[in-house]
Symmetry: C2
């Protein structure tokens, strides 16, 4: 897709946008200022919904956002009326400081569930963050860092897309993982801004499509969070309309998908305790939905994830995971290979097992499994369905991180 | 339920029954001889089905079993026609030795997927097992041991039940786990024999009911196996009919449930790498199905299981797991407590958080979380639905065991 160009600088590539991040201990605050942007979002499907999710859903009814406040360290979930009051307090703090309308400020939180917000310290960090607003690459990086919880590296991406009309617009985003990542977006926060002209309904449709092939196709542990939010804003700074005759420019959608997949893969790679990155490609499934079931089941299997950690090419666990995913499978036609940057080894070819005991296939497979990036390719030979999912291995450190989280 | 009496001796409490077990390295063979028994079974829901499952489903069409052959060490799954041929070879070996009809012999396997059966060594262990058949407690124990894979202790249970008519019959069973245990029976093999008179259709109904409240309510890692089998036989040795006027004696059903729950709990307790046993009781749910969703979601959450390993009373993860289970939940009415043998602490009472920061509730909860047996009680205050699920913590050793399984 040569109409997509990845560029450095995160949010700094978008005009009329200021961002910042500040942190004190485990509490971080990022602020995104994008006056009069059209906006839409996708949220967690968990029935327990954090206060900022409720609050922001309400703000978004107008489809207009001028700033976003994000804090890490406390999820403000299961915090009752006090939690909603705290959202208002923090939004008011930002509105007063920036002279923006309160009802155009969104709020997101990530961290521990069920503790009231330490409003004093978060307010203090908020003022510090406000004092650092800017439009340089380091401002974007600071914002990406301040929303991190157990993430080990900040995650940002920016692209310039040449539309089918020949004009160019830009999209930039930051995200954080990194545990509780599951289909339907376990604890992830993503914020995306484009300089394109596009209204909130059109953003909603484009974002839903992009999320379905990116954030909804990564799994770290299968847990879904109460706070997940992917919020996209369009500040129109480029003056270029990406919807013509009611139809979204297909290059724009592709570029948005690309950006979301890039951010999603960074989250999977940074799964809690992860040492290896896994991509599962399924093709030849009965249909796309079957392919998605199979790809996600492989990525979700604790047994396979443990095998990857151990470097064990246990394709039996791949077959088993596909088998219980609910998708159609014919053991006599399925083909399974694993690959890294240097080799691609068939383990099972149209139902025939190649990798067992002392075969050269097994030796090569064992070598592939030592790599940091492992791709599993499945061809079902049943139809045209295809999908890709991403995840990571299950490690001692995943257990350690989550055994020690709150106490 | 004072009509159920737990008795020692496993299968030895049933008359006209011989069992045995033998092992050489990782290959074990157990044999159960129960001539002319009525029989039925429940099997894995995985779409990849091992050869012995296909074979035994066919045998069971007649509803009559005279012996069961079980091997551990190789699952005989994804082994094509050779796998089915190997089933026939082993069944013939048993039939010839015991002078029993081939078409009344069931076969089960557990172990690595996708390797052909090492038929020579398994035949050798089979002959050794056949030479040890007997009806003493040590024979039953040997059978329970020979089917073990990563299990750390053998699992058997026997009960005597006083029927509503005042007569008594007995039920005994053995089982093995202990990874890949999930709803719909990830790698478990269970074999149950009763001396009651009951036909195969009635066994089928009773066994399905019992499995739904026992084997289908335990989770170790959410993976489902290709080989799961729970096979129940009735040899009629007591001469006592448990079905009268077309109705199964309710005490018999309760006793069968009790036995299956006992075996299921032993499996959960012996989950791979487990250091703690978790029971999740949900009541007040909208209906039983909702309660099952919630209870299983708690037991399945990698985050909560890691928290239990770490002794962290992280009730936020309990709420989150219920929230994404799909069941109805009102955060303002839910009550959550955790208990061990000595204490029962409310963490959340009708939506009010009690256990936070330095409250006495949190201190007591932290103490409970140090116990080996932890019970989570949830009251939704929404309806009459209730369910119980069982599981274990997620530990370094789970990862270790499964990172090293085949290589």
């Amino acid at each position: 897709m040569d109409f997509i160009r990845v560029i450095d600088g995160g949010f700094s590539v978008i005009e009329n946008l200021k961002v910042s991040g500040a942190r004190e201990g485990k509490y971080g605050v990022s602020i995104i200022v994008c006056p009069n942007s059209n906006a839409s979002a996708v949220f967690t499907s968990n029935k327990v919904v954090a206060a900022p999710v409720k609050y922001t859903k309400n703000v978004l009814k107008k489809g207009r956002i001028s700033a976003v406040f994000i804090n890490s360290g406390n999820a403000n979930c299961f915090t009752g009326q006090q939690g909603l009051d705290d959202c208002e307090t923090l939004v008011k703090l930002v509105a007063d400081d920036l002279k923006l309308p309160e009802d155009e400020i969104a709020i997101s939180s990530t961290g521990v569930i069920g503790r009231q917000m330490p409003i004093d310290i978060i307010s203090k960090v908020a003022y510090e963050s406000l004092s650092k607003l800017g439009n340089r690459p380091e401002n974007s990086l600071a914002a990406a860092k301040a929303i991190m919880t157990t993430d080990t590296f900040p995650k940002e991406c920016a692209v310039e897309v040449t539309l089918t009309t020949g004009e160019t617009v830009r999209i930039a985003g930051i995200t954080k993982g990194s545990g509780m990542i599951a289909p339907n977006m376990g604890t992830m926060l993503s914020f995306i801004v484009t300089d394109a002209v596009i209204n909130s309904d059109e953003i909603k449709m484009a974002l839903k499509k992009a999320a379905d092939v990116s954030f909804n196709m990564i799994v770290v542990d299968g847990d879904e969070s109460t706070n997940d939010t992917c919020l996209m804003m369009a500040n129109g700074a480029s003056g270029i309309n990406v919807v013509n005759d009611g139809k979204l420019d297909s290059n724009f959608q592709d570029a948005l998908n690309y950006l979301c997949i890039d951010l999603a893969k960074k989250m999977a790679r940074d799964g809690e305790g992860a040492t290896k990155f896994i991509e599962a490609n399924v093709c030849g499934a009965k249909d796309d939905e079957d392919a998605r079931l199979a790809a996600k089941s492989i990525i979700s299997s604790s047994l396979f994830k443990s095998a990857v950690f151990g470097g064990d090419p246990n394709w039996g666990r791949i077959v088993s995971a596909i088998g219980y995913s609910g998708c159609d499978l014919n053991p006599d036609t399925v083909t399974i290979s694993i690959a890294d940057d240097t080799d691609d080894v068939d383990l099972v070819r149209k139902g025939e097992i190649l990798a067992f005991d002392d075969t050269p296939y097994l030796k090569r497979a064992e070598k592939v499994m030592q790599s940091k990036n492992i791709t599993v390719n499945i061809d079902m030979y049943l139809g045209d369905g295809e999908a890709t999912a991403w995840g990571c291995d299950l490690t001692y450190d995943y257990v350690k991180i989550n055994a020690e989280y709150t106490t």
